[in-house]
Amino acid sequence: MQKAGLFQSIHDKAARKKIPISCHFDLTHHCNLKCIHCYVVHDDRPELSTSEIKSILEQIAEEGTLYLTFSGGEILSRKDFFEIAAHARKLHFVIRLITNATLLDAEAAARIAALHINQVNISIYGSTSEIHDRITTVEGSFLKSLKAIELLVKQGVSVRIGCVLMKQNINDYRNIFAMAEKMGVLFQADHRLTPKNNGDISPMLYRISDDDIEKVFSDPSFHQPPDVHEQIKYDSAFSEIPCGASHMTFSISPYGDIYPCVQLPINCGNLKEQSFHDIWYHSQEMIRIRSFRVPDIPECAACSVRKFCTYCIGLARIEAGDISTPSKRFCTEAGILSKLREGKQQ
């Protein structure tokens, strides 16, 4: 297992020097599922072509991007997906895929293995068809995803089950964790539901309660120890900047728009019209986001639990209307983590 020191130092250097080391690339917004909590909003514009995507990959590789996450929509709905992935591997990216895997067959699993994809994240929302399919709204999706996991594991591909926690599955997530262990794959639960990218807050109806957040935070199978979290916050560039968005991470939409983060869809420029270099270093919107500092927010600068806060400027913008207005959810979560830390120290 990689030492946290070297890994963190690479990220810290990237954040300080504004090297765009990590890219989340939404290849498409088309999807064969209709998950109730999905934040993606379709656009009528044509999506990027194969050659446009290849050119973009070459540009971002030139600027230092190492980590590349392909997501969507459903990536395997693109007929040219493997052509794109092969080109990305020739450019020596560390590639992660986020997929529902329902379109993944034995041939696809073999091709993913042959490309040395670093990890495949598969969304599983329940330990049974009843729970999972109710969330995806597509009958049979659970069994297809499980089958895909088996195919990938057989090929030696690293798989991580990703589960967004919501009211519909909060009492089931430990069963999903057990299922992941039994299948020999990793598990990661995400406790934050977000509104849709157009501001529609309907997914928030499914958000878990504060009591449930405390339950999952205190579950050692779910959360890393606060000690590690504190180390990351205070010994690096991230003691003042809220996250890597615009400092070392960015996202690309299926239409070529560059965002500081997939969770912060502020259009900083379009790759059909400008080069990535120009957008990353000279976009006024990117520079504005890059100048934001958590200590500039009076209530955050004085906060006693700031070191436990995972401030998300994307969520702040969507939920509170502005990147510099913290969502009360952050404060609640930081308070819970602080309380748990005090409990550990006693």
């Binding site: 990689q2 991007t65 560390v94 040395h116």
Partner: protein
Amino acid sequence: MNSTFCQNLPYGGVLMLNEYVVKNNERLSYRIIDGEAVVVNLTDSVFHTLNPVATFIWQHIDGHTMVKDIVSRISSDFDIDPFTAEKDCVEFISELVRKNLLSLSPTPVTES
């Protein structure tokens, strides 16, 4: 990787290594970040960072350039005596071969 060749590669076997070309292992990713190569072995997810001279060597590993030519460039570009350049280069390449980050070939590698 030709394990017989590597087993027979003490420092005294440097002349043999010089006649080989070196190629990156397919199971890795890398990027030059702020002048230093960051290499990720995808087999075990271990990160390696290389200092400027090692990064220079890394950038010349292309499956076509012979080790002796890389050594010659190090000597001239970094103003290092040829003996030291050869010793350091061989040690570095041997270490990366042992870590399965590089492989050796007696002839230039043809891209498929």
